[in-house]
């Protein structure tokens, strides 16, 4: 392997061996092919947005765009572990809602509670992931059903506990993660959410692409029998993947709650958006394939498509249809590219 192509934030790209001394044209094309296709789709959508609205690519608006992408991107970065391991996690949307509603009720707007609230929420998220994992691996309930059940349990419990209307409010120092940022001279505000996304993204990328555990995740999803025979504890690896997804849902919930404030349906629909983002990023449902970087790119693409269609001023019905077409087209393109390079 002489070159590893693609930006560092694009792990999981199939590294291609490029022989030296090749003519420039085919070599550039081959380099380009090594970039996960979703980054090209994302770049195309961002270029279209910039064409309609040049201010979009200025630092401040672009950082604001990244801030509102952050919750979905974090969610996708966690979900991809579960997908690669060959399972689904449908409970993340309900977990996001639970985080927002529970945080509001427990803290009741008191800033002094934030320091213990966040570890508590993370622990709860890990517990939800652990239960998802154990039910899937030990009780052998298909994860589609296990996590769908968890979705219903969580949303039912939240409804019961809050009586349908969330109580309390989120303290400003809790909300700052999703709402505010560090002032940078000349650039405006660097949102905490973007910093969080960067940290979570790099951390999960290292874990997935540069650790023994990461290889085991791919192995557990790609070929569980072979993985088990070569000494991988498939059940434990899959359970750990659910825990990572649960933790990422809590982080996403903190960012989203910070961004929007208390709502009763904060995370509604996020489970499918997260899965869509992961698939857009080239992951294969059924396991064995995918990457953190491309999943984040998938999340950014979903959000930028929404922004683009908004900008074009399409009617709502047409907008939904075009959004669906773009998602299917991008996923087909990504799958096509993967077949070629794989």
């Amino acid at each position: 392997m002489t070159t590893t192509a693609g930006p560092p934030a694009a792990p999981g790209a199939q590294p291609s061996a490029v022989p030296r001394g090749e003519p420039a044209g085919p070599r550039a094309r081959r380099l380009l092919r090594a970039v996960p296709p979703i980054w090209l789709v994302l770049a195309a959508v961002i270029l279209l947005i910039a064409w309609r609205n040049p201010t979009f690519v200025e630092p401040a608006p672009f950082l604001a765009f990244l801030r509102r992408c952050a919750p979905l991107a974090v969610l996708a970065a966690g979900q991809v572990f579960v997908i690669i391991a060959g399972e689904f996690d449908l409970s993340v949307g309900a977990l996001v809602t639970a985080v927002v509603v529970v945080a509001a009720r427990l803290s009741d707007g008191d800033a002094a509670h934030t320091w213990w609230l966040i570890p508590l929420l993370l622990a709860a998220g890990a517990l939800v992931g652990l239960v998802n994992g154990l039910v899937t691996t030990r009780l052998r309930v298909p994860s589609f059903i296990a996590t769908l059940g968890m979705l219903l349990v969580l949303s039912g419990a939240v409804f019961l506990w809050s009586g349908g209307a969330p109580r309390g409010s989120l303290a400003d120092n809790f909300r700052q993660f999703g709402r505010f940022g560090v002032e940078l001279p000349g650039l405006g505000q660097l949102p905490y959410a973007v910093l969080t996304l960067t940290a979570v993204g790099i951390g999960l990328w290292l874990l997935l692409s540069h650790s023994r555990f990461g290889h085991q995740v791919y192995a557990a999803g790609g070929n569980p029998q072979a993985a088990a025979l070569s000494g991988v504890d498939v059940r434990r690896v899959r359970t750990a993947a659910f825990v990572i997804s649960g933790l990422s849902a809590v982080v996403a919930g903190i960012l989203l709650g910070g961004f929007t404030g208390v709502t009763a349906e904060a995370g509604a629909g996020y489970e499918f958006q997260a899965i869509a983002a992961v698939v857009l990023g080239g992951a294969v449902l059924g396991g064995g394939r995918g990457s953190v970087g491309a999943s984040v790119a998938g999340a950014l693409t979903l959000q930028s498509v929404f922004t683009l269609l908004n900008l074009l001023g399409l009617a709502k019905s047409l907008r939904d249809a075009v959004q669906g077409l773009i998602i299917i087209g991008a996923a087909a393109y990504a799958a096509h590219r993967l077949r070629r390079s794989g």
Partner: protein
């Protein structure tokens, strides 16, 4: 090179599709201060001029009944005789509820239960929740009728057309039927209880903006979703007002009631137009998110409309917003219980019981701020004097 050609074509096709879709619907580009707005678009197919005119007039009509109990008041009541429904003894009141799936209905349902407890002549209040499904509500009503225990039946229909046959069937079962909130396409219920309505709501909000926003000021209208009658009436009334005024409606967007989408949309409009001078909302649940989007962009919150939820009222007070809050009062959930008992006592009730629909303005804002109540509580519950207040509504003592 067969395959690369094919995917290049596919990408090209997608790009063309997006570009073409953009071209066919871009707004007329004119004017000097950036791109021109999309305007208010076509009038809604739900718009009925006579209903609009009536509701606009009803806003200024003094209701009959006790002024301190608006849930007992009625606007232009046409009383009907109910002697044939008179019944002695204690009653079982049955209630088919469309759903308890949002904070507005949670507050209302809590209030209705509290109202039922105030009346010793009610033995039980039997309620069935249709969970927002027409088919479930139809079978719920069938079940209540089959039980033959109901002295009176209260229905809060999930949708108008689908529930009409079920309500007609209940009328034929020879028990008094009371409909409230959304209506049905039949006059067979003894009474239909509702606040003035969506035209009044939307017009009040729009008139406030046209009075506060300067000439050619840019207005963004945020709607939850299209095609729902109660929301279409609000927007269609606002459209009438905006079209008559000199403000520029730069966008009408659907938000699905999602706070994150609201912030995203407002942010996009601020990038596109630099500033926005007024925000019209068809419901108040995401008004706070809209206001925060301006704060996050480092701008002053412009004139904005909301509803009577506490989070909005608090923000209004704290940040000294230029705001107005038309309401769709939750106290209407008290009235059906009162009406049922009046009917069972043989007292006259209004055929159409139109409740007043107050507006919260800067002058009466402090009256509706209830610091001990949760952020999504609706202030116009008429429940402050009821037993169990505020803890049953989620508040602190």
């Amino acid at each position: 090179m067969r395959r690369p050609m094919r995917y290049r074509l596919a990408v090209l096709g997608a790009a063309v599709l997006v570009a073409a879709a953009g071209c066919t619907s871009t707004a007329p580009e004119e004017g000097d201060d950036g791109p021109a707005g999309s305007g208010t678009g076509q009038q809604s197919s739900f718009f009925v001029q006579a209903d609009y005119d009536r509701q606009i007039a009803q806003r200024d009509t003094a209701p009959t009944g006790p002024a301190d109990q608006p849930w007992m008041q009625a606007i232009n009541p046409q009383l009907v005789d109910t002697a044939k429904h008179k019944k002695s003894g204690r009653h079982t009141i049955c209630f088919s509820n469309a759903a308890v799936n949002n904070p507005w209905r949670v507050v209302g349902w809590t209030t209705m239960q509290a109202e039922a407890k105030l009346h010793p002549e009610i033995a039980t209040l039997t309620a069935v929740d249709a969970e927002g499904k027409d088919d479930k509500q139809i079978s719920d009503i069938d079940g209540l009728l089959a039980s033959k225990k109901c002295s009176a039946l209260i229905v809060s229909p999930n949708t108008t057309a689908a529930l009409t046959p079920a309500v007609e069937k209940a009328c034929q079962a020879n028990l008094p039927v009371i409909v409230f909130d959304r209506g049905v396409n039949t006059t067979c219920p003894v009474t239909f209880i509702h606040p003035i309505g969506g035209y009044a709501f939307g017009a009040t909000a729009a008139e406030f903006l046209t009075s506060k926003v300067k000439k050619d000021g840019k207005i963004l209208a945020l709607r939850i979703l299209p095609g729902v009658d109660v929301l279409e009436t609000r927007w269609s009334a606002a459209k009438v007002i905006f079209d008559k005024s000199d403000v520029d409606v730069v966008g009408v967007e659907f938000t699905d009631g999602d706070a994150a989408k609201v912030k995203t949309i407002v942010n996009d409009y601020l990038e596109r137009y630099g500033s926005i001078d007024g925000v019209w909302m068809d419901a108040g649940a995401t008004s706070v998110a809209a206001a925060e989007a301006f704060e996050d962009a480092g701008q002053q919150v412009p004139a904005i409309t909301g509803e009577d939820q506490q989070d909005f009222l608090r923000l209004w007070q704290d940040k000294k917003l230029t705001a107005v809050a038309p309401t769709y009062p939750t106290y209407q959930w008290r009235t059906p219980i009162i009406a049922a008992l009046d009917i069972l006592a043989g007292k006259q009730v209004p055929k159409e019981w139109v409740l007043p629909q107050p507006t919260i303005t800067q002058d009466n804002l402090s009256r509706y701020l209830l610091p001990q109540l949760p952020p999504l509580h609706y202030a116009l519950c008429g429940c402050e004097q009821m037993p169990g207040f505020p803890q049953n509504w989620g508040g602190n003592q």
